[in-house]
Symmetry: D2
Subunit: 471 residues, 4 copies
């Protein structure tokens, strides 16, 4: 019976926490919107590797294509039915719920006013509540994703609202949680960011055309100019009359997910004015100050530990070294379906550079310890390669709390840091010393040393949830 | 602009006429419901070759799998997640709308009461009207198929109704048109047939388990016993308490599609008491009486013309002969996407048996002339093979009207019979004489010579629509 | 160890008996040779459904494409690299050896004189012997098929011979067994038939272009004119100078496989002057004379039993009836990989037409009883459908011996007729009477009533092998 | 005609230069040889991404599987027919010839003594000559790869030799060029390295089992212990009696390809005693000495330029910085089929880290300039990101000559360095200065400062071919 319950839970998808990326194009002129989306999605692939999709509006007719797999697999060819002037697109990584193409985005829906398409990144806190309420009114759902809930609300608001942008603005009153949202009607591209701006969203320009994307790296990749961040709470409408901003839901507050800087965003992306690479280098500098140690070399666990390692090296003066070779033909550790696959892929993915560490006292920098096994494997590999000492430095604080805003973090029960002190953990992973970035210094990552009000979300570290969450 | 409108029309699917097949299993005992469905679908494959799907309920948890292609392709293996005790399944052939997997059935929907699945065969007359009305209430649609409209209505009725069977009964009040419907809740299998019984639907038993299927041939294939036809208007609920019938919507009327006998049903199927093969043999006998001619051999166009040819041979005493060889590795002519593919496949598909017809006066029997080109090609082939005369006999009347109940018939403008007299048509196809079954004798096909009230629908021949239809 | 030996045997393919089809085009003018091949292969698909391939010569450059599956699957699109003026092609059905694409044909080989391609239908008696001899000289083999052996011999002869046609003629001196062979050099198409003409091979013309094919039905399908059979022992060279015949290896003898008439060839094909359909009708007539019985209807097991059933009906005056419906969406029984799949597919493939046989005395005609199970299933189905008596008539004699010339016949141990008398067999399959065509009347099938010398091979029935064979 | 000639050339594969990787397992105990091969191939994937394959010997029966694509794609599942105790495997990257599965390795051949399998890395200088000679003797070829030539020779030698290892030893007398060769007979695994040791090959041990691999990184990945390099000219036989070495063809000379250190090998691999990473760091140090310049940061082009950048930074004292982010979801630039794809993928693959370079004088280190376009694009990107000066340093000398030993280097005509002086090139790529590693200092990369005899091949830089080559 327990198993059945679990099966129910998974099937019904009450826990669809997921990290995703969105990219949209409004073309004025000759751009092939879907092709630009493909190139943009390539740059956002690190935000989701499970499925992807592109929806286009061609002279007012909306159509789309979705598939399981990487962008390069699903869109090896851009099919002819994706011709069009407006397009929104999506990459998805799911941690719960079923890996099925129905759950891929963008969703294309037909309602009273015709068709529209929806894609979003983030996670609602009250999706289940809204879903039940909608169901009471007879609504039905094909998928287990929040986007369908949002689409339902927009459709209902649209009956009353004069246009789709107003429907989106009203819909936002009902949504609690994190979302960077793209909506495409036959003639408009709407972008909206939740009032706390948990997830990034930027506006760019390519010639006369407009781009919206999760990260600036996607603008760079297609050669577009960065215009500005979409503000927390802002709704932007792009249509034949140009770009129009609606700030009805803006409050002046902002609580961007600090994990975007630590891990999610690509290092070359600039989020709300701060380059991810720079904030990681800063994390390394802070670690050097917080946990000084005598050592011969500093190495980073590729790829995300390299930036912080460089910062630690600079601050401490201890030489930076390449400590590992990463096999680029295997995927990301953090983003793998289940634990057994995670374990096996560590050995295939990383190999220590023996001559860099043999006989040396090594400071090894990584971005996080979600589960302890991966770290233990890596420390073991360094010792096997001859490292005399291994001092582990983590460029984020210890994680104690789940995330309700779209980051895939295990339950409290599964989190290593809730079962072990740092000292215990140090022994468990076989390190000679272990230091986590102090939570109180997180603000310095984004240059917010002594700001009067916190501008980022660090709930997974501190439990300080910007929105009341169950659990 | 015209092209865009057309594209809109196709995309929005206002003309989703389609012929399909349904098959459901309620297992008491060890039957693997999905495997039984697969075998049943094999037997119904002639009703739809475009896509197929199976939905199962496993201990109350509903899941499913759909795909484009033949049953043997999509279900080469029955995946483990299709284990379960109850199952409904579907084969689909679409003539309009997009050939996409989203439009495949069964649909699995989530609503207030959890999940349910829907599959149906037939076409609603008022689907668009209901869809608009539902959209006014904020409903949204993912597909362009009637099943989604039916599912929406059931979900709304279910809020008020005490159980799903009552919701289905109430939903039927809103539906106008043809439907043989299967609904699966976590614990029940519901079968319903529209009040005029346009499409067939039968109940069978396999050991202690219950089967519902579009045609009896599916019962034979899996070794099940035929119990009875589901009556027009009847709703049957199968659950742990057995089979329960609800006849609230029964009126005593019946108007089964006569084309089921002429062409659609497999010859071995018995529909409302009449074997399709027997009614085709009878059509041949009638043709012999209605259009007597001196000839040396009677041949049928395989496969569906063979039965009528046999009847004509028996009635006339003219020897039956194999006139053609059919290439079994190519699909059905009538069921092919576009006209150019139809033409080419005729030559690859049929070849005249020269020695059977050379120097002879031939009566060639076919089941219909929808477009004239195919017939012209076949007559030409016989003459090339040496036939002295070719007298064409068609085992159905001339078609003049569209069908709104799920048969793929071209528009009035496209129908050959609306542009040419039979004499002109005879010349066009190069035949020496041509005779169509007289519409007034259709009743004899099903042994209803002088019935007081018509029990079948022949609207495509006569324009006598049992339900008021636009167009 | 025994298992390993068996694995060895299979892997090394000492028993690659297979039935195949070949088709070649030499285009003078605008024909796209590969496309014509595809249409021709469609018509020969009954000769092999496992794999297919096309090799072309484009301005002297030879290239090709092969794949597992039906022609319509492998050549859904004709790839651009198959442009060319000359082409040979092949469909394959293998009964032993591995079902791998390496074993598909045509083979394209590179040797001293450049490239050439080989495709053949038939089976050599001395392939293993030649293979060993070639291996002694250092030859190596990539596949387990006879074609590679033939290609090796041609390559060796070519070193000495002035041209490829002479190399083929000399190669034939070494080959013992059945083969209808196509060879393509950069500029020539060579067709050769073994000196006894076991397998059919015909020459046709389409406009100015030349066609060679296993059966005439392939000529009809592409609209080509039948010119003549290639004679046993003849080599035909087609090149820029037209068609040239070489009869060095002709002996005037002929021993075409009688099973081609009984089962293999498509009924509309004319082999060495006799239409397969006509010979099957004659088999039915002979059965009527050899085993008279009182009955109400004559039915045939589709498709290959229908022709003989018609003949039996005509000779006896007992009405012909459709006794079964055949599911065209499932493959041929005789041609299925293993026994368990054979059994299951019978029920899915055939269904008795109850009203045609209920309460009647039925004569059921089939083409052979290779294994008894299929027949027993069919008789059982008829009785279930209400048949009062079932008299089985088989349009071929009892099979007692293996075939070494390319027909897939089980070992002596597996052949039912070697374990049971006809009476026993009759009981085993549950029939009321059973009659096999008498072996001494086989000549009448091809109008060779009292010929001085046998012109066909009936070794599987009589053991009279035209060539000494081991086993 | 020219086009046809070209087509001929490509088809006949006279220029099959390719870089590949090999991996073999001889299991004593419970290792599943094919699974170990898969993990090993993962680590060698950088040596070839076009196709891969595994051949196994299971109790003396040899079988295999090959496919186009990455290891993770082709061997997502290890099929059951790859069970076995001995296995050899291969990854392939082809620069000429057809990308077809027939050309994938290992090749499995059948000859007088049964079956054997062959896989190799390298390129023969006299393959064409041997091929013609073999063809004179009647040999035929299915593929255009050198492995088939080697297999033919082994088969011929095997007729005279007492065992397969002797056949390999004798075969080596005929081969001129580069090869690291694995041969598997039913009971033996043979590894051989050409007498000059152009390509790496190492021996390892995993428990009681033996491993041979192109690089040590494959040993590390599977947790195997490095035993030693296979010596130039050495043949190693592994069978039930253990490891036996044959040094008949050893001459004491060695000429390993210096490009293995500069680019091909994974940085963590140790080749003939020198770690690739260390030799790249040394290249950076040499560049600092050879081309001193004032600058603010040193950056490397990922991934292969990073090591040398680190060396340059250390030697010069100028800070090392991350200058680029590399999109790991797109493949390697150097290894892409055609030029147009190379260009487009640069933008998608690399993005400058603006804040690292803006306003700074940058030293950018890359491993080579094969064609100038890629470098120009990268320099342009840095300037766009705000770099004040860009000084390009290349960790290899200018390339002037083709490679006949398996490295994919364009023709003399296509090589940028044969058309432009370094100064011109500097302008063409838009750099402020440009320096290539001096060819005379190459020896220092492998610690061979003033060795009496050159132990590496630098022919592509110097034209000093260790073996006489045409062209």
């Amino acid at each position: 019976m327990a198993q059945q319950e679990r099966k129910n839970r998974i099937l019904d998808g009450y826990i669809p926490h997921d990290e995703c990326g969105v990219f949209g194009v409004y073309s004025n002129g000759g751009l092939h919107a879907a092709s630009v989306c493909r190139d943009g999605l390539y740059a956002l692939q690190h935000r989701g590797q499970e499925s992807c999709g592109i929806a286009v509006s061609d002279m007012g007719v909306i159509d789309g294509r979705k598939g399981m797999g990487l962008v390069g697999e699903v869109f090896r060819e851009i099919p002819a039915d994706l011709d069009g002037q407006i397009a929104i697109s999506h990459v998805r990584y799911s941690t719960a719920g079923k890996s099925v193409v129905e759950n891929a985005q963008p969703l294309i829906m037909r309602y009273l006013k015709g068709r529209f398409a929806v894609a979003h990144n983030g996670n609602l806190v009250n999706a289940e509540e809204i879903r039940e309420e909608l169901a009471q009114g007879g609504a039905m759902f094909h998928t287990t994703i929040d986007s369908e809930v949002i689409a339902h609300l927009i459709a209902r608001e649209r009956v009353k609202a004069p246009n789709i942008e107003q429907a989106v603005i009203h819909t936002m009153h009902r949504l609690r949680g994190a979302y960077s949202l793209l909506v495409m009607s036959p003639t408009k591209l709407i972008a909206a960011r939740d009032p706390l701006g948990f997830r990034p969203l930027v506006l760019g320009r390519l010639g006369d055309s407009w781009i919206v994307a999760s990260e600036t790296c996607a603008l760079d990749t297609i050669g577009a100019e960065f215009i500005r961040d979409i503000e927390p709470g802002e709704v932007v409408r792009i249509d034949a009359h140009g770009v129009q901003s609606f700030r009805d839901n803006c409050t002046g507050k902002r609580r961007i997910c600090i994990f975007e800087y630590i891990y999610f965003a690509r290092p070359d992306s600039v989020l709300d004015g701060v380059e991810a690479h720079a904030s990681r280098v800063m994390a390394g500098r802070l670690l050097a100050r917080q946990y000084p140690v005598e050592a011969d070399v500093v190495i980073g666990v590729p790829d995300s530990g390299l930036d912080a390692a460089l910062g630690l090296s600079r601050e401490s003066g201890i030489p930076f070294e390449m400590g590992f070779v990463r096999n680029n033909y295997v995927g990301r550790t953090f983003i793998k379906p289940n634990q057994s696959e995670r374990k096996k892929s560590v050995n295939i993915k990383l190999n220590a550079l023996a001559q860099s560490v043999a006989g040396k006292r090594v400071i090894m920098v990584d971005d996080s310890i979600v589960r302890g096994t991966t770290s233990a494997n890596i420390v073991y590999a360094l010792k096997q390669a001859g490292a005399r000492e291994v001092h582990v430095r983590i460029s984020s604080p210890t994680i104690h709390n789940p995330c309700y805003f779209g980051t895939d973090i295990p339950t409290r029960e599964e989190l290593t840091s809730n079962h072990h002190t740092v000292d215990e953990l140090c022994k468990l992973i076989g390190a000679d010393s272990l230091g986590f970035l102090k939570a109180e210094s997180l603000g310095e990552l984004i240059g917010e040393g002594g700001a009067p009000e916190k501008t980022f979300c660090d709930a997974c570290f501190t439990g300080d949830y910007p929105i009341a969450c169950k659990g």
